[in-house]
Amino acid sequence: MKLTRRSFLKKSGLAAGALGLSLQTFDFEDWSARAQEAEVEKFPTQCNTCGTQCGAWAYVKNGRVWKVEGHEEHARSLGKLCARSHGGLRWVYDPDRIKQPLKRVGEKEFEPISWEQALTEIADKLDDILTEYGPGYVAYGHYPRATGNFYSERLMYALGVSTLCTHATSCNAARNTGFLYSMGGVPDADLSNTRYALMIGRNHGGGIRTDQMKKMSEALAGDAKIVCVDPRQNNIARIADDWVPIKPGTDLAMVLAISNVIIEEELYDKEFVEEHAVGFEQFADRVERVRPEWAEQVTDIPADKIKEMARELGENRPRSLVHPSWGGAFGALYANSEETARAVACLNALLGNINEEGGLIFHPTPELGSLDEDQYPAPEEPDTRRADGVGVRDEYPLAGSFGLPHYLMEKAQEGEFKSMFIRHHNPVRNFPDYEHMAEGFRSLDLSVVFEINMTETAMLADYVLPECSFMEREELIEASGGPHASISMRTQVIPKVYEETKSFDEIIVELAEKLDVGEYFNFTLDDVNRARLEPYDITLEEFKEIGSMMVDMEAPLGEKELNTRSGDFEFYSEIYDHVGRPGVVGWQPPAIGVNLEEDEFRFATGKEGFHSHTATANIPSLAQITKDYDSNRLWINTSVAEERGIEDGDRVKLKSPVTTEEVRVKVTEQIHPETVFMPSGYGNKTPFYETAEEIDTVNPNDLVPYQTSNIAGHSMRQETTVKIEKV
């Protein structure tokens, strides 16, 4: 049953206000009238609505944040901001923000407590767990950015905890892993200078990164040919040169077949392959049988189209590329996603486009200084066993330090994992299989969430520690690489809105004291930032005035030495072979298979450009876009809908192996007939998101069972089939 806010408050037996709910309403008209006359000040900051954290200028009028503009000297924003950023500043004034530390006192009941009580109890309980079970039973998870990385790592390492996790296994872990073990990392796509780009699932207009969108616009406005492979006509496919629909989960077959044509027709870069790669012959043998005609049967892409893409990639090399993507197509979606990523890397290698203009470039990241080790000793990285099986031979030997939060929740249910700290991250909602994640969280002896809103994960925590919002805190300087590089920081734009909130660094320093590891935090945030600025000819005070500055970095054009084990491009990976995974990439079907039963559909999801996961559905200006464009619907192909008597706007039952949900449909020609698509930004289950309730619908993660891939350990977010029934 869905928990409403009213019933939540009633059940919890708390008066309104006990959770810090503000009963004072803000008089907008009065404020607006006064604001007309007020002086406007602007302060540099970084957006916090998605992970990109674009540099921004925040404008303050009458003590309130009025608007944001892109920071022109930031590598990611380049002076532009997306809708999420403009909407995201409303978080600051969300009346349902958490305003005081909360302690769980019943299944759905919280009690506001003091910081002293919260931190003392958390420290005592954590101490007990570390003593009884050891640091291998504790983990920390977050969306990794500068301040969080620095403070969490220092605290966890000081306690001997090695399991630090990110969101990556629900995002791009497969892509990262496939590229790491072939190309040595994920390069930047030089769309601005390319002649031909093949986009597989990557939708720059939905999963927006502002600087990447600029490059895409340059490509679209210029002479480049942009071809988009995607089961639905995504925002870029609509304006690109070509849309090539594909059966979801079969991209690997297409990539291998393109490679087959390029090798057979000798369109590849022989010099690169001979001098800078290992295992090419094995790869060539492997793809020899992957004919375009076979791939047509698997992917639904005509063999001639596959040949055309191969020839155009080959003829335009090295100024051609297959985009390394992000979450789309092979980020973390299917059982074969790591192998799809590796095949994409191999195809780029055939084009010889690594560190070539118009190809893929490993841009360096600007240098930052660090604290003096003698004065401010840092804890050693502990060699304790990771709780999530990362690097463990019979668990997830190839998974990276991004960690496996969904696997930890399995271990928690089995009693093999005891405590999790989560910050600025909502794994319960944003990983597949809500009940799996929620049950894991409930099974923990100690769960602590640092947040500003009552997310689904916060709703299940034993303690919720309220942070001040991104406009109310200063943070550590970070460096961003790419064709434009910058160093940047958040400055404090406005005073704290709620007195009892604290910034993450404040909380960690106080918690460290309670845990008797305070000696690792004998510095201020300013001390760290001064150290980070050391390579640059600017004082911290001056830097706080500008917040962000571009740094000239030379692109490593022509550099062929890669960050792999061999230093060359690896068509054959000795490491994969060593841990019992295929040394050379080959065809592997998705877990749902290639051929469906009658009445089954493949399921796809993706972002809308105005929502960031489920975090923004509660922002009124962004929720209103959903309403105005009626966008929170399931896409279904027109002819398929007609066959079933389904009309645009109808409600249907959407059945997956784990749930049945009702959803409204959007009937469209812009989707593969065997596929249905659901935007990812909805389906909040927290009673504190009142606005989001107005646009509530199914979340893709509700449909997909808990699964873990055996290479990167990612969560296979699209590995399900669904059935549809008219209501």
Binding site: A83, G205, S217, L220, A221, N235, R238, K666
Partner: protein, 232 residues
């Protein structure tokens, strides 16, 4: 997705009238009824926003930046999009355009406003004095593009960010556009840039055109005929 509106009679009449008046560039602004601002508007050079709809990804950054800039309720949006899909899977094409105030020359809304709340402002953009507006809806009745949104005590529409133009800045939508589909500048320069882009687009979009026959302050680069995008 918003449904395309039906062509309406008032638009046809308006366009016929303007065409008959033989309007050319830089002759707009003669029919102002907001006399208190007449002198000011005559001094200001004609500017334009140029929108390249072939690059737009409908991310809605412009819409929300605009709402913040103008501090309006989220239920009103000065910038909307009209779209349609053409053809059948897999040969389907998507067409869209920005749907917002076109800043007509000799704007009928200005003449129709009974309380002189509309006038030609900085850059010769049709501007509203929200405090004077009585939300009577006369502007909507005469608008060829059905743009004005009538609220409880005022009408809502784009004014090309008059307060920013006064500071020599560009409108908020142009400033934030992540797909670089928007430009702002002198009318003649935008007209030229628009024509050049259309020439370039003809190769991929044979019907590409610049919707600029009437010296609008919003110039639209379209990838399809105006009628396909509910314009005449």
């Amino acid at each position: 997705m918003r449904e395309n509106k039906e062509d309406n009679q008032s638009r046809r009449n308006f366009l016929k009238k303007t065409a008959a008046a033989g309007l050319t560039a830089l002759t707009a602004g003669t029919a102002l009824s907001g006399d208190k601002l007449l002198a000011e508007s005559n001094d200001t050079a004609k500017k334009a926003i140029l929108m390249d709809n072939s690059l737009c990804v409908e991310c809605q950054a412009c819409r929300v930046a605009c709402q913040n800039e103008h501090e309006i309720d989220v239920e009103y949006s000065f910038i909307k999009f009209l779209s349609r899909e053409k053809g059948e899977y897999p040969d389907v094409e998507y067409r869209l355009r920005r749907d917002s105030c076109m800043h007509c020359p000799d704007a009928p809304c200005i003449s129709a406003c009974p309380v002189d709340a509309l006038y030609e402002g900085e850059g010769q953009f049709t501007t509203i004095d929200a405090e004077e507006c009585i939300a009577c809806g006369r502007c909507l009745e005469v608008c060829p593009f059905e743009v004005p949104e009538i609220g409880e005590d005022r009408m809502y529409k784009c004014d090309a960010c008059q307060h920013l133009l006064a500071e020599d800045k560009e409108p908020a939508c142009v400033n934030t556009c992540i797909s670089y589909a928007l430009q702002f500048g002198d009318f003649e320069d935008m007209l030229e840039a628009g024509r050049e882009r259309v020439d370039q687009l003809k190769e991929s979009y044979p019907e590409a055109n610049l919707y600029a026959s009437y010296d609008f302050g919003l110039l639209l680069i379209l990838t399809d005929t105006p009628s396909e995008l509910n314009l005449v």
